[in-house]
């Protein structure tokens, strides 16, 4: 799918009808099918797709580094015009040491745990023949380039002493140390907090502008791709289905898969009560499936007989935009799989003023005597029936601990008040009645961990019905069947063990279990973060439907601000165990908001374009064990300097006060002051 306008310049990286297969049990199973694309000098090219689409395989194939059972079975991979497949191992080694390098998904694991960081970077130079002192000096310079504050200290550190963001900087420094012509980034910010992700992406952008390195950027996140890449290729089942300028692809997609994918995303401006997310039916064909027609035909709502039997050609549209589809012109008007608007009758409006659940003065301290860590400080919240409260904050902010306190899995400190319907809830499960336990339930993040892999899903749900509802085993199983069917888990699968189910189905089982005891409040702890976008959309729709029919409240924890915004009525922002801001979702997002919220919001890469005024948090998250004096944010606050109240910020912790009706904030700056400072922020975000 090379663009025809690039004739005179040799591409830095060119995939030419590349086929890659993994040998599984003696059979070659195709992973990449006829993939062609080019990364031009100085260009940033994105490869995007859901898990299992082959994007990482493409990245490693470009370095000719495939797993032991993987091999390139066809086509050419050209680096600056010469084919990599036919080159000697030594030639490839030299290319890796000088011309191309990579940044990985888990930066801490990517560094050798028993070597100091400095030595690992210096090694890059010693391969090139530099002496020890020179290598050291150049390693220092490389670290300086990635904006690390105390380079001397970091050089002496071991990888486990670095934060994720810092480790990724080190890996980037290492990758760029030899000024490679090609830099491959494989999900470089997945698993990092949004604020850290934003910093890393900023850094890559800056360095790329300086060095002119070509970039192949692998991500599942369209927002990240949008903010980083000039052009993008969409991979599906090992095939490049659409390619073109990033903005073009995202604004005017011409392949049914891309169209469907974009409709699954809860973008800014969408709300659960007004806009239902679209879903993509079916699922990715399993690895190695033999496909005669279009790879997407099984899931495509405009597929014809031709699509199922014939390979579609690559259709060239305008400006290098191409789509591997028989009907690129029909794609934009692809019929939806779900209704545009949510359920016909809105039964009840959420009760945002109510007090189904009330938390007051909730604190939680771990450890005892000399070494105590206070992970929650003076949390006060209330939740009405049928309301969704979004809980956001970086990792370590206390989100999960707060959830555990609500559930009775972790008893809060003495003096904390946790009430359901105005009556105190026991601090632990042992102290709660079966009805109370059933009333507050959870959907865990990882269904693999949350579902006992030795039990059938019917038993998993049925046992909860029995224990929480006092039913017999038969009644429990019958109720489990009806609950599972309600969650649209096919009846034939009720006797299956979780391992048989896809991630989305497992999460449906987990939701069925949470609803077994007629819950009033369900804590959703990152329930979709392990799922692909298309599956996420179906799960979010299900949660919305259940809320309407059951009038249940959600405490929705997520690092994905887009999802939180879509689903929440109100949002609480947590930092170092404190609520920094609390208010209606739109108010919190549109601002004026707390400086911390502002940074969170502006770090969100959007598929709809860039926020114009980016605000970044400074430095690293302080340890919860040793929070800063005064306002806990003051060490990183983007609005402290020049606020006129610096002294106050550094010494006195502000109270959480109502700055406008229903909108609470913990900040010394006035709402007006914040409004003035934040006025430039893109309203889109």
């Amino acid at each position: 799918m090379t663009s025809s306008d690039a004739v005179s310049v040799t591409p830095t990286l060119q995939f030419d009808h590349v086929e890659v297969a993994y040998t599984v049990r003696g059979i070659d199973r195709p992973v990449l099918r006829d993939v062609s694309f080019s990364v031009m000098p100085g260009e940033a090219y994105g490869l995007v797709g859901e898990s299992g689409c082959g994007k990482s395989t493409a990245a490693y194939a470009a370095l000719r580094y495939l797993p032991r059972n993987g091999k390139i079975t066809g086509g050419q991979i050209n680096f600056e015009g010469s084919d990599l497949v036919s080159q000697s191992d030594e030639a490839i080694r030299l290319l890796r040491s000088k011309a191309m390098s990579m940044v990985y998904q888990s930066p801490i694991a990517a560094l050798n745990p028993s070597l100091r960081v400095g030595g690992q970077i210096a090694e890059v130079f010693t391969i090139g023949g530099a002496g020890k002192a020179e290598a050291h000096e150049r390693a220092v310079a490389a670290l300086n380039k990635v904006q690390i504050a105390d380079v001397g200290k970091v050089m002496q550190r071991y990888p486990h002493e670095l934060s994720g963001g810092m480790a990724q900087r080190v890996v980037i420094a290492m990758a760029l140390a030899t000024n490679p012509r090609l830099l491959i980034l494989d999900e470089p910010t997945t698993g990092l907090d949004a604020t850290v992700e934003a910093e890393v992406l900023d850094l890559v952008r800056t360095l790329r502008a300086d060095s002119g390195t070509s970039v192949l950027f692998i991500s599942h996140n369209l927002g990240v791709i949008r903010s980083m890449c000039d052009r993008v290729g969409v991979l599906y089942a090992g095939q490049l289905v659409e390619e073109g300028n990033t903005a073009q692809i995202l604004n005017d997609p011409r392949h049914p898969y891309t169209v469907g994918l974009l409709r699954c995303i809860p973008r800014a401006g969408l709300r659960k009560d007004l806009h239902r997310l679209d879903t993509i039916p079916g699922s990715l064909p399993p690895l190695g499936t033999v496909i005669t027609g279009c790879v997407y035909a099984d899931r495509c709502s405009i597929a014809t007989e031709q699509c199922r039997t014939e390979q579609p050609p690559v259709v060239q549209l305008v400006n290098g935009h191409s789509s591997r589809c028989f009907h690129p012109d029909l794609a934009p008007d692809l019929p939806r799989n779900t209704e545009v608007t949510t359920v016909e009758v809105v039964t009840r409006a959420p009760d945002t003023e109510g007090d189904l659940v009330t938390l007051a003065a909730v604190s939680k301290t771990f450890g005892k005597d000399s070494s105590t860590v206070r992970v929650l400080t003076d949390i006060a919240l209330s939740l009405g029936a049928g309301e969704t409260l979004g809980l956001v904050g970086e990792s370590g902010s206390g989100k999960t601990t707060l959830a555990k306190v609500l559930l009775g899995l972790t008893p809060p400190d003495g003096g904390s008040i946790v009430q359901l319907d105005g009556k105190a809830l026991g601090a632990t499960i042992a102290g709660r009645s079966a009805a109370d336990v059933g009333a507050v339930q959870i959907v865990f993040q990882n269904p693999d961990s949350a579902l006992n892999r030795r039990h059938a899903v019917r038993r998993i749900v049925g046992r909860a019905v029995v224990k929480l509802g006092g039913a017999t085993k038969e009644q429990g199983n019958a109720k489990a069947d009806s609950l599972l069917s309600e969650m649209r888990v096919d009846a034939r699968l009720h006797a299956a063990k979780p391992v048989m189910l896809s991630g989305g189905l497992k999460q449906r089982v987990a939701i069925a279990r949470a609803f077994a005891g007629n819950p009033r409040l369900v804590v959703c702890d990152e329930p979709t973060s392990a799922l692909d976008v298309s599956v996420q959309a179906a799960i979010l729709n299900l949660l919305v439907d259940l809320q309407r029919t059951e009038n249940v409240s959600y405490l929705f924890i997520s690092h994905d601000l887009g999802v939180v915004r879509y689903l929440s009525d109100r949002i609480a922002v947590l930092y170092l165990g404190r609520i920094m801001e609390l208010g209606p979702a739109e108010t919190v997002f549109s601002g004026p908001h707390h400086p911390y919220t502002e940074a969170l919001v502006s770090s969100l890469p959007s598929i709809d374009g860039e926020a114009t005024n980016r605000v970044r948090l400074l430095g690293e998250v302080p340890s919860v064990a040793n929070p800063p004096s005064g306002c806990v944010l003051h060490t990183r606050c983007p609005r402290r300097d020049g606020s006129g109240v610096e002294e106050l910020c550094d010494t006195v912790e502000p109270d959480l006060v109502e700055v406008e009706p229903g909108h609470l904030m913990r900040c010394h700056l006035s709402l007006e002051q914040l409004r003035r400072l934040q006025v430039a922020v893109d309203v889109l975000m």
């Binding site: 079916g282 079966a434 336990v437 959870i442 030795r454 189905l505």
Partner: protein, 303 residues
């Protein structure tokens, strides 16, 4: 690569054949481990050897071609020949038949000791791993003590002070020594398991601890415990054979491999090899058989 059922049916896509496939997959998945094992040479060879000796242990007299107790002083210490495939021993008894019948003691004692230690060790390990804290500390420090001296030495120490040499004494000694070691393995697997959310989910439907331990956690750690069982069985055979050889094991009423080796090794220097070698090889074959089983099982369960 096992394919899984996907959201296909959820969204109402035509997936009837997908469902069929799912059901078949479910069945085949259940049998996958067994099929994997049946394809592994180490499993097949290990099973054949182990089952052979197990059969000998129970039906030795019926399998043995001759009466293992009939003495023939004229034909003593013969190397193998037509009538005696493994030759004869110092009293002219048929070595082949004595090897067959000799499986009984070692197999039964090893099995009994291993089963006892596996049951006790599993319970202790579950409790230690789940409750952590003081219970855990006590059990693990006890295990430390038992593991600070080799099994065989510990067994020697205890045999020295117990006058009875009955089978049950040896069984109890080996079981006692192995229990803390099994407990340690069980604890290690429980520790990881107890962190998983399904345990929290069980408490969130008011399950009691015994239910969580035995109905939720135990089924998940069973595979690693099965592997540990075969490991222990191997060590039990090792220890029991050695104790017999040293003359500190069960005083045998029936033939016993270790004792046979000990009795005849004096003849090795020129007089007779078979009466020593064949019982020794019997021990080796049983040990290897159990080890091959263990190797295959651990691979099947750790995949």
């Amino acid at each position: 690569m096992t394919s899984v059922v996907n959201d296909a049916q959820v969204n109402g896509a035509p997936a009837s054949d997908g469902r069929m496939r799912a059901e078949q997959e479910a069945k085949s998945r259940r049998n996958e481990r067994i099929r994997f094992l049946l394809k592994k040479p180490s499993f097949i060879i290990g099973s054949i050897i182990s089952l052979f000796w197990l059969a000998c242990a129970f039906f030795g007299e019926a399998i043995a071609p001759q009466d293992p107790f009939v003495q023939d002083p004229i034909n003593k210490l013969k190397e193998p020949y037509g009538a005696h495939w493994f030759g004869t021993d110092n009293l002219g008894r048929d070595v082949f038949s004595r090897v067959i019948v000799g499986a009984r003691l070692i197999v039964l004692v090893a099995l009994a000791a291993t089963i006892i230690s596996a049951v006790l060790g599993t319970i202790l390990g579950l409790v230690a791993g789940y409750y952590k804290g003081k219970v855990d500390e006590v059990i693990m420090r006890t295990a430390d003590v038992f593991m600070s001296v080799p099994t065989i030495v510990l067994a020697l120490l205890i045999t020295s002070s117990v006058s009875s040499k009955s089978m049950w004494v040896v069984i109890l000694i080996i079981a006692l020594v192995f229990t803390p070691i099994v407990a340690r393995t069980a604890r290690a697997s429980v520790l990881g398991e107890a962190e998983l959310d399904y345990v929290a989910a069980a408490t969130l439907r008011t399950e009691k601890t015994p239910h969580i331990l035995f109905k939720e956690v135990l089924p998940n750690v069973l595979p690693s415990l099965l592997v540990e069982f075969t490991v222990r069985l191997g060590y039990a055979i090792f220890a029991i054979a050695t104790l017999s050889f040293l003359g500190t094991g069960v005083s045998p009423e029936s033939p016993d491999w270790g004792t046979q080796v000990a009795t005849h090794r004096g003849f090795l220097n020129g007089l007779n090899v078979s009466a020593t070698l064949f019982p020794a090889l019997a021990i080796a074959s049983l040990s290897i058989g159990v080890n091959l089983l263990q190797d295959a099982l651990s691979e099947a369960f750790e995949r």
